[in-house]
């Protein structure tokens, strides 16, 4: 802003002490809410099943409304809805985080490689990226899933990553291209440091916060897609699964049951809450680590 004094701006950006980066992170409202929600889901997924009873079939309590015994009511077999959700969390976390890890990993590798090694290799990698980028992911995932038909978290995660990496690879590449010509990389080159050193010590740290944000969005994408695949019935039926819950809500006469609203909305609400948490976490990371792009 030209009406502001540059010197003043610089000074106000300085911190009087140097608090740890976690303190800075925690001070941000978005980061705090996002972290609490995300950690909450991990607690629910991995500690929940140890303390909450597993849902059991009880044909006397089909589609029961919420009560003390069943806080979110029951499903078409009288199983506890909250239990279904808690016991389904672990699988979702596994699939989404593995998928994000694969997608982000491929994205970083291809992005850095095509940005750093120019020439034929870089061009080829970018051409592949451009092609994958234009393929609508959900359609391809659906087709691949229809052929593979497995519920194994690793395989599902792999299917979900088929196209997820491309957009990120492209963004990383353009960052690397601009970093490549920057002074500190030039210096590292003049000092004759190895490509390994330049890539991992000079370039990687500069794309870390961006990578973290992409990882979070990949988790979100994988969450929507994996639950969606189960909802469509493309992946094999499995007990304790949010997508299967949605699918069952629409079948087995569920739509006619009076208590359906709670049964239907529960998994949707959980997915939405998880997503809000992830988005807030990304806002937080963005504001804390990229103060220049900070929303005014």
């Amino acid at each position: 802003m030209n009406s502001q004094d540059k010197g003043v701006e610089k000074k106000s950006g300085q911190k009087s002490q140097n608090p740890s980066s976690f303190t800075v992170f925690w001070r941000n409202k978005y980061a705090r809410i996002g972290l609490i929600i995300t950690v909450g889901f991990f607690v629910m997924g991995f500690i929940g099943p140890l303390v909450y009873p597993a849902p059991k079939i009880d044909l006397t309590e089909i589609f029961a409304p919420p009560s003390l015994a069943h806080p979110l009511g029951t499903d078409y077999l009288g199983r506890d809805t909250l239990g279904d959700i808690i016991y389904g969390t672990g699988y979702i976390l596994e699939v989404t985080f593995i998928a994000a890890l694969i997608g982000t990993g491929i994205g970083v590798a291809i992005g850095i490689a095509s940005g750093y090694f120019r020439g034929a290799v870089g061009s080829l990698l970018m051409a592949i990226t451009d092609i994958v980028l234009t393929i609508p992911g959900m359609i391809l995932i659906l087709v691949v899933a229809s052929v593979v038909r497995s519920g194994n978290p690793l395989i599902v995660a792999g299917v979900l990553s088929v196209t997820a990496w491309a957009g990120f690879a492209r963004a990383i590449r353009s960052q690397i291209l601009s970093l490549r010509s920057s002074i500190f990389v030039e210096e590292a080159r003049l000092l004759n440091l190895s490509s390994f050193h330049i890539i991992f010590k000079e370039l990687m740290p500069n794309v870390m916060s961006y990578t973290a944000i992409n990882f979070i969005f990949s988790v979100q994408g994988a969450l929507f897609a994996s639950v969606g695949l189960y909802f469509l019935g493309v992946l094999p039926f499995s007990a304790y699964n949010w997508g299967v819950m949605l699918s069952e809500a629409t079948s087995f006469g569920g739509f006619l049951a009076p208590s359906l609203a709670v049964y239907l909305i529960s998994p949707i609400a959980v997915i939405t809450l998880f997503t809000v948490g992830l988005i807030y976490l990304s806002f937080g990371i963005d504001e804390v680590f990229n103060p220049r792009t900070r929303r005014r």
């Binding site: 092609i131 359609i139 691949v144 229809s146 493309v234 949605l246 629409t250 939405t272 988005i279």
Partner: protein, 330 residues
């Protein structure tokens, strides 16, 4: 320069389409799951013993002649796809895949294009207004609202609308593209029926995407408001309304077009869910049904057509963008 760019985009389009066709071939023919081999063994076990009969069936459904080297099969497949011949449905043997697609694609295009256009305009307008009100109290809660709206998966949105608006309140139909009691054609009852049936699917798309458009335009507006040329225009005494449209709006909307390119692919992905939920007779619902039935010729055909449709939309959006932004126009 400009023609070079268009040629490059078209080359990418062709390469992508070729890649997708190849992927479908690999999935059906070369993957360890090989649905085609399964089909042959199925037919054989049902008593069709004569190899010539088997070969005829295979070619009828899959455009693949058995017992040929794999590369010959591949080229045969490529050629027949390019001729618009995607074989026949395993479930409806009398229907060609091309026929099935032709009856269903228009419904999907209608839903996807209408909702994308409406959502884009509402979100872009709202986003600019919000961008101007950044930092206020209303701003914070509206951003939270759109963040939550954006966080509801499209099938969640569809199920909620289906359940509350259609099944509980009975306001709008829950399935199909038009009522059974109207005669398809250019008559008013049919048109009204078509619109009534499409309101919920279109609304689902809009609710699912308008938050993204709004938040995106808000962020663009805020970033453009911080640009020197906006201050410079104010300093030249240019009226606020003119600055809002020609300086802020015009520049903030450009990244929205980039997002539009990406959103087209997403919209077709979303169509799979929305059409399934509202039993809408589009190409997405057909895809899900075929996946459930293992109707691979239809799956392959639909996949190729959807991706071709997305690629063409992307090309159109991309060329429009070239026209709008003088920096890439050259």
């Amino acid at each position: 320069m400009k023609y070079g760019y268009i040629l490059r985009r078209i080359a990418i389009l062709v390469a992508t389409l070729y890649t997708v066709i190849t992927i479908t071939f690999i999935l059906v023919r070369l993957s360890p799951y090989d649905p085609y081999a399964y089909f042959l063994s199925q037919e054989a076990s049902m008593g069709i013993a004569s190899p010539s009969q088997l070969a005829a069936l295979a070619e009828y459904y899959y455009n693949l002649i058995p017992n040929q080297p794999i590369y010959i099969q591949y080229f045969q497949y490529l050629i027949s796809v390019m001729e618009g011949n995607f074989g026949h449905s395993l479930i409806y043997p009398q229907m060609t895949v091309a026929n099935i697609i032709a009856t269903r694609l228009p419904w999907t295009l209608y839903i996807v294009i209408t909702s994308t256009v409406i959502s884009f305009f509402i979100g872009t307008y709202a986003g600019q207004r919000l961008g101007y009100k950044r930092g206020g109290k209303v701003d914070g809660s509206i951003v939270t609202f759109f963040t939550v709206l954006h966080s509801i998966p499209i099938y969640g949105m569809g199920l909620i609308l289906l359940f509350f608006i259609s099944l509980k309140a009975g306001l709008l139909p829950s399935a199909g593209a038009y009522s059974a009691n109207v005669a398809p054609g250019p008559n008013l009852p049919f048109i009204i029926s078509v619109i009534r049936h499409s309101i919920l699917p279109i609304s689902t798309f809009i609710f699912g995407s308008v938050g993204g458009w709004t938040l995106g335009m808000r962020a663009n507006t805020i970033s453009v408001l911080g640009e020197d040329y906006v201050n410079a225009a104010e300093l030249r005494g240019i009226p606020t309304s003119r600055i809002a449209s020609r300086y802020v709006g015009r520049n903030a909307i450009l990244p929205q077009f980039t997002s539009l390119v990406i959103s087209i692919g997403f919209a077709f992905g979303g169509a799979v869910f929305v059409e399934q939920i509202f039993t809408y007779p589009g190409i997405g619902q057909m895809l899900v049904t075929s996946v459930g039935d293992g109707d691979y010729p239809v799956i392959m055909g639909i996949t190729i057509i959807i991706i071709a449709a997305v690629l063409i939309s992307v090309l159109v959006a991309d060329l429009t963008y070239q026209f709008l932004d003088p920096r890439v126009r050259k």
